[in-house]
Symmetry: C2
Subunit: 310 residues, 2 copies
């Protein structure tokens, strides 16, 4: 039985402003980003990944990382996260006083080479440098195990490699771990197995699951993850974004669709779904195109229609 095992309370994190806007064809103006983050801050999300302190040449869409961090109004209780690729990025993140940085390595060597232009060993070496900078500061560090559920070049990753990466991260002092299905290869049985193995290996480590809907299984995977005891989920407003370097990869799971499903199942997310839907419905105007989210179009399952005249 699935639903007997579902947790009573989970947390939802939004990555749209970073993961979504990063791969938009057009630059989203800084003030639009700030306005969106400020609106998201009031919906009950646990974390918002607001930007990435990467080279503006690598990702021009996020060249305004410092301005975004400076411009937003921080809501107590919300963790503002920035992705950081290296020590230089970490210093910029520290200067911007982000609450948490996110370090990402793909355990698929070929994907890490394609995406980060580094071997996994080189990524870990970078991370060690970052952790030295962070030591003693209040800034928290989340380590993302990308391609945890499969690499589009190297295929499914063995479980020990997921646990190996997590162990490396935790050994450096990272505070929490995200297992990311970077190119949408995860399936429910695998999600359940990996999640349970992770929780058995690291019962006290905060775990986030990050799914893509590339093959339509995104919410099924989230359900399987929750049933296996995961308590934190990444998603992207409107379902925008995805990994721009992964062939065929489209779409993070959609935040409001995810909240809608968990709400329906009686799992508290702390998110005000109506408020979130209001924000989501303004997203197409911001990015200039339709977005994959479905509940923003169909309405919530509890929204009834007037009976047709007889």
């Amino acid at each position: 039985m699935i639903t007997a095992n579902l947790p009573q309370r989970i947390q939802i994190n939004d990555v749209a402003v970073r993961d979504g806007f990063q791969s938009e064809p057009a630059f989203v103006p800084t003030e639009e980003k700030i306005k969106l983050i400020d609106r998201l801050s009031c919906t009950g999300l646990a974390k918002i990944e607001v930007t990435s302190f990467v080279s503006p040449k690598a990702i021009p869409n996020l060249r305004d990382a410092a301005e975004v961090m400076q411009g937003i109004t921080r809501v107590p209780g919300v963790t503002y996260v920035a992705l950081v690729p290296n020590e230089r990025g970490c210093e910029r993140a520290q200067a911007a006083a982000v609450d948490e940085i996110n370090l990402v390595m793909s355990i698929g060597e070929s994907h890490n080479l394609a995406n980060m232009r580094m071997t996994c060993e080189q990524s870990l070496e970078q991370f060690r440098g970052v952790m030295k900078l962070v030591r003693g500061s209040a800034m928290r560090v989340n380590g993302t195990v990308a391609t945890a559920f499969g690499c589009p070049f190297d295929g499914e990753q063995p479980l020990y490699r997921v646990l190996w990466a997590a162990e490396q991260y935790l050994g450096m002092g990272m505070h929490s771990i995200t297992l990311a299905d970077t190119t949408g290869m995860a399936h429910p049985r695998q999600v359940e197995q990996v999640t349970r193995a992770f929780r058995n290996a690291f019962p006290d480590v905060p775990l986030t699951l990050h799914f893509h809907n590339t093959r339509g299984m995104g919410l099924a995977n989230a359900l399987a993850g929750a049933a296996a005891g995961a308590l934190s989920f990444d998603a992207s407003l409107g379902g925008i974004g995805g990994c721009p370097f992964a062939p065929g990869a489209t779409g993070n799971i959609c935040t409001e669709d995810l909240v809608h499903m968990f709400d329906a199942c009686g799992i508290a997310t702390g998110v005000d779904l109506d408020a979130l839907l209001t924000v989501a419905r303004d997203l197409p105007a911001i990015v200039g195109h339709e977005v994959p989210g479905q509940v923003m179009r169909s309405g919530k399952r509890t929204e009834l229609y007037a009976r047709p005249a007889a």
Copy 2:
């Protein structure tokens, strides 16, 4: 734990030619329908809902029901199903020698009125007439409990009403039951509860679950249904179709995406996914527009890409 409860083998039924083509803006030529059914017949699907013996005025797209039935090449082991609204339809279905007819009533009274222009009691009366015609013939009868997981006008339906409808159907001699989420209101916890209740009440009755992906939960619902012991699932090639009378309702779950998920989870469907994908990829050309299926675009999760040059 979900996946420990998943069945080893399930069956998949396709409804695209009936439920999908019925609501297409353009009439799909009879020979295209026949060709598509014949291709689907060779993929390992258990049932194919090929047409509806309704009034050509009500659904002009399916005015060629008899020609379609006559034109197809029946593959042994595949059950060819036609939807039938009344005795006249039943006689036409008998003349066409369909293997199984499908009778549909929405348990949401308002939806049944809007969709069928009948009260539930009037629908059941029609069904009694149909069952009299069928008695003694080899033709099987499936009863669909539509809006089983919620009516867009009347809201969530109480469990007893689902069981009441099933009991009415079975009392008339119907052979199998489909619980249909006609407008995409089901959620996983509800699916599990309803499926378990049904199986407890009618342990020997073949049960099919029919989901829509209106709010993105389609495959999550199928997973929950399978974990609760459902062994038969409807879906639509490419995810086409939906209920044309239901406001905001779009999209059956996609057959090849469903098979892909179950395959990945190690559940045998009997369907040749590669063959099915080949057929699905020809669907946009047949209907003249893109379709919602995702695996047809992304490829299977096991399809790897060449490593980028270093």
